[in-house]
């Protein structure tokens, strides 16, 4: 059993769960963006772990590169939404966004 791969799986899962926890717990929209990024770091580690385990680094690298592009575009759109949200609402506290409380 390849130990580095398992260490990567462990950290990836840990970061993913922490990201979801922070996403649900925090109130400031910018902090929520950071939590989504934490979640994304966890997923990058999971993809890397799968590649390390299979010994297919070339393929995994291309998956990770694509994922990084997705993550960046998502972050940019999310930040733009946060900016415009603050302009219409003058606050970033999601307690004032009734529907985000779910």
């Amino acid at each position: 059993m390849s130990e580095p791969a398992l260490a990567l799986f462990f950290t990836g899962l840990l970061l993913f769960m922490t990201g979801v926890y922070l996403l649900l717990g925090v109130r400031n929209l910018l902090r929520i963006v950071l939590s989504v990024e934490v979640l994304a770091k966890g997923i990058t580690l999971m993809l890397l772990a799968a590649g390390v385990y299979r010994g297919a680094m070339g393929l995994t690298q291309s998956l990770i590169v694509t994922f990084i592009i997705v993550e960046t575009i998502l972050a940019a759109v999310m930040l733009a939404l946060v900016v415009i949200c603050q302009r219409t609402n003058a606050s970033l506290d999601i307690r004032l966004l009734s529907r985000l409380k779910g």
């Binding site: 995994t60 998956l63 998502l74 999310m78 939404l81 219409t88 529907r99 779910g102």
Partner: protein, 477 residues
Amino acid sequence: MEAYVGSILLLPLVGALVMPWVSKLGRRAADALAGAVGLAVLASCLALVPHAGTPATLQVLGTNFAVDGLSLLFLVVISVVGFFCTVYSIDYIGHYSGRAKFYALLMLLVFGLNGVVLVRDLFSLYVFLEVASISSYVLVAYNLEFDGIESALKYLLLSAVATGMILIAISLIFASTGTLSFAELKAVLSGGPNPLFLFAAALFFAGFGLKAAVVPFHAWLPDAHPSAPAPISAMLSGVVIKVAGVYALTRIFFGIYAAPSQVLKVFLVFGVASMAAGAILAYFQTDMKRMLAYSSISQIGYIMIGLGLGNWLGIVGALFHVVNHALFKSLLFLNSGAVQFRTGTRDIREMGGLENRMPITSVTSTFGTLSIAGIPPFNGFWSKLFIVLGALAAKNYVIAVLTVSFSIFTLGYFLLLQRRVFFGKLNERWRDIKEAPAAMSFSVICLAAGCLLVGVFFNQVLRGLIEPAARVLLGGN
């Protein structure tokens, strides 16, 4: 055939790319480009329909794509609804700025959805799903008003968790098999049950279930769909939840997993929950579009039930319901948009007596109501009939009774909606309003005619479009 698939895929992308320059020529040029791209994609899809029975793998720009009956069914749904929403937008989008950006994003949404149904690889499916999702987040917030932005953020955050789960499942499957292509995964899985795949299946179900807005993963839909501009609500409810949710679920659970009975049971349970919860919550809404959004959850429940029955009749009914729901729900959302366009409100209690002021909208809404409630000869009747027959064939009488009773309940709340909005005494405020503009009326008339024609010629639609798709799903068994 490659030319058709190539144009289905690439025309929306090229259209979006050149849109900023074309729109410099004037508003009408942007309208014409968007309409022409929509029409060309629709024509290419319809030209592919005679080939529905023959799966094919083909290369576009050196990239592998594949078409089969299931893909084709969804391609037709995307392009029909996409085209009429584009035409509808020509008049509707007049009061927002940034017409070119709107069309470009709408075309990219269509491109992403087409990509999702044409790829045969888990990770590529995820990438195209993100293309479609990110454009729909922006489009939901397009009016730049508070509720739109708020629900776009909610949609985005819940989707981020959902796609995270999908990616974890993908990486586990990759670690376990070393491949991501559907065909190879299917071959690996036919070797026997694998606990890791069951864990991945749970993650896939949660992830794509959220995209499909299956109860209890539906929280984003009743906010996102009503706050979007009407053509986008129609796209989201009519197409996006089906392609990103139902299509992906069927492709994975029928195509790769070959529909084991545990998975079908899960489909049934969540389907019944969605059907019941969606219908009951819809009854209590006073916001017209919100009621339609909850009813979408309920109708997705019907589709899940049909798939979960797992027999021929159930699956044919579910796939037929995908087509029918796309037609009548986009019709109803576009009509609610027309009402909002003229009256400026979505509150049912403020309306009343609009039938003489907006005759086209009123009549086409009646068509939509009769379809969604499953009144013959409209299209919704046949698909619900097949689902009920499937339940009877599976000796699942509880499901059959529930399906029929919620269908009657649906009729009830839609007639209530129809009566409060269009019939009765005219509210004095709306004395001077006019019928919706020409392009908007054109779209809803075509969609209403579609509801009736698909219902009348249901046999041809079944033979030509639905049965090839059902054969793809059951080929795995």
